[in-house]
C-alpha cells in the first residue's frame, strides 16, 4: 500500500474509536485528519487547546478570521453550540479529565505506555506545547503512527530512548501494520488487529516491545 493509503487506513481505524457524545482533542498533523472520517450517527465535539470547543470545518475565503484559529494555528470555524475560553480554562478542562479522547502522533511508545513525541536530542527543540498536558489529563490516549521509523527502526519498544512526553499514558496504538490495545494502565498491550496482508510475524519482526496476541475477528 502507498504511504497515503496507509495513512488513510490508520485515520479511518482511529475514527472508529469515536463514540457518540465524545469530546475529543486531535493532535496536529495526521490526527487532525480523523475529523474528516467521523462515522455516521456519531456526534462528537472537537476541542482545541488554545480555547475552543466545537471546531468546525476550515473557513471559506470570505469566512477567514485571524481571531479564530486551532492549536495548529490554522484558520478554522466554530460550530453552533461551541464556545471560546482562555488558555487557563482550556487546560483546566484538559487536566481535569473532561476530554474523553485524544488522538496523537508519536515518535516512540514503550511497552508500559510511555510516550515520546516532542523532542529529539541534538535537534532544535521547539517545545512540548500542550502535549504533556493532554497525555496527563485526557481519559483515553490513542497513538497513531507508522510502525517503524523512516530508517526501519521499531517505534513500539521495551523502553523509549527519546525524552518522554508522559509515563504510562497510552491506551491504544494504531499503526500501518496493526492495532494494539490494553485494558488499563496496569495491563500489557495486546495485538488485536492486523492490517490487510500483514502477518503476526511481520508485526513481531518490526516490534521490540513485549505484547500479548489476542486477535479479534474483523
Amino acid at each position: 500500500m502507498s504511504r497515503e493509503e496507509n495513512r488513510l487506513r490508520i485515520v479511518r481505524r482511529a475514527a472508529r474509536e469515536l463514540q457518540d457524545g465524545f469530546y475529543v482533542n486531535l493532535g496536529i498533523g495526521i490526527p487532525t485528519m480523523v475529523a474528516n472520517h467521523v462515522p455516521d450517527g456519531i456526534d462528537i465535539v472537537l476541542q482545541s487547546e488554545n480555547g475552543l470547543l466545537g471546531i468546525g470545518p476550515f473557513p471559506s475565503e470570505a469566512e477567514v478570521d485571524a481571531d479564530l484559529i486551532n492549536a495548529g494555528k490554522q484558520t478554522v470555524t466554530i460550530q453552533d453550540g461551541g464556545s471560546f475560553f482562555g488558555s487557563h480554562d482550556s487546560f483546566a478542562m484538559i487536566r481535569g479529565g473532561h476530554i474523553n479522547l485524544a488522538i496523537l502522533g508519536a515518535m516512540q511508545v514503550s511497552a508500559t505506555g510511555d510516550l515520546a513525541n516532542w523532542m529529539i536530542p541534538g535537534k532544535m527543540v521547539k517545545g512540548m506545547g500542550g502535549a504533556m498536558d493532554l497525555v496527563a489529563g485526557v481519559k483515553k490516549i490513542i497513538v497513531v503512527m507508522d510502525h517503524t521509523s523512516k530508517h526501519g527502526d521499531p517505534k513500539f519498544l521495551p523502553e523509549c530512548s527519546l525524552p518522554l512526553t508522559g509515563t504510562n499514558v497510552v491506551d491504544m496504538i494504531i499503526t500501518n501494520l496493526g492495532v494494539f490495545r490494553r485494558a488499563d494502565h496496569d495491563s500489557p498491550f495486546q495485538l488485536i488487529e492486523l492490517a490487510p496482508g500483514v502477518s503476526e510475524e511481520d508485526i513481531a519482526n518490526s516490534t521490540t516491545a513485549k505484547y500479548e496476541v489476542a486477535l479479534e475477528k474483523a
Binding site: P59, S60, V64, D67, T75, G86, H88, R95, G127, G130
Partner: protein
C-alpha cells in the same frame, strides 16, 4: 477612574531594562502588536518574556528578538522563528520550556495568590527534574510554582476606561489570565467604550486587573496558517 493612556509609547515608557513581561497571544493570534512595537521603539533590554510562543521573524515578539532586547523566554513552543533559533543555539538567548497547561496554570496561580500547586503534567519527564514529587491517592504529581511578572502586555477586543475587557473568539488565549498576574497590566483594545457599555454579566477581565488601557491605532492581525476549504 480613567485608565486610558494616550499612546502605546506612553503606556510602556516606564518599562525598565531587566523587566519580566508577560505577553498574551497564541502564535500570532491575539498578540499585543502595538505594545510590542512600542517596546521595540522604547528600547529596554535584557527583558524576560513569559509568552506561549516567540512570534515569527519580524513580527510579534520576533521584533524584539531582532533587536536583541530579549534575554530569556518562558514558553511552551518556540519553533517558527529563525532568529530565535540562531540566538538560542549561540547561547545569546535563554529558554525555559514549560508545558502549555502548566504555563497557563502557573500564571493563574500567580494571579490568584497560590504560591504552588501539584499537577500530573510532566511527571517522569525532563520538565519534572529538580521539582518536588508527591503522591495523592496513589498517583504521582509534580509541584509547580505560581508565576508573576512586572508587566503584562495584552490585547483585547473591547475595553472601557475602568479597564474592563472582553476578548474575541480564540484571541483570548493567554490574555485574560496574564492580566491577573502582573504588577502592571497594559491592555491594547480594538474598540474603546464607555463604562456601562459592556454587559457586566459578560466581562472577561474585570477592570481591577488592568492598570492602563490603550486604544490601538491599527491591527495587522497577521495569519500564520491561512487554511480554507474548497467548496
Amino acid at each position: 477612574m480613567d485608565k486610558v493612556v494616550a499612546s502605546a509609547a506612553e503606556a510602556v515608557a516606564d518599562i525598565p531594562s531587566g523587566a519580566t513581561i508577560m505577553a498574551g497571544g497564541f502564535g500570532l493570534c491575539g498578540i499585543p502588536e502595538n505594545l510590542i512595537a512600542a517596546i521595540r521603539d522604547a528600547g529596554p533590554s535584557n527583558l524576560t518574556f513569559v509568552s506561549n510562543n516567540a512570534g515569527v521573524d519580524g513580527f510579534g515578539l520576533g521584533m524584539l528578538l531582532a533587536t536583541r532586547q530579549v534575554k530569556k523566554m518562558i514558553s511552551s513552543y518556540v519553533g517558527e522563528n529563525k532568529e530565535f533559533e540562531r540566538q538560542f543555539l549561540s547561547g545569546e538567548l535563554d529558554v525555559e520550556l514549560t508545558p502549555q497547561g502548566t504555563l497557563a496554570e502557573r500564571i493563574r496561580a500567580g494571579g490568584a495568590g497560590i504560591p504552588a500547586f501539584y499537577t500530573p503534567t510532566g511527571y517522569g519527564t525532563l520538565v519534572a527534574e529538580g521539582k518536588d514529587v508527591r503522591y495523592f491517592d496513589d498517583q504521582p504529581y509534580v509541584m509547580e510554582r505560581g508565576l508573576t511578572a512586572d508587566y503584562a502586555i495584552i490585547k483585547a477586543w473591547k475595553g472601557d476606561r475602568h479597564g474592563n475587557l472582553v476578548f474575541r473568539k480564540t484571541a483570548n488565549n493567554f490574555n485574560a489570565v496574564m492580566a491577573t498576574a502582573a504588577k502592571v497590566t497594559i491592555a491594547e483594545v480594538e474598540e474603546l467604550v464607555e463604562p456601562g457599555d459592556l454587559d457586566p454579566n459578560f466581562i472577561h477581565t474585570p477592570g481591577i486587573f488592568v492598570q492602563r488601557v490603550v486604544h490601538g491605532p491599527s491591527f495587522e492581525k497577521r495569519i500564520e496558517r491561512r487554511t480554507v476549504r474548497e467548496d
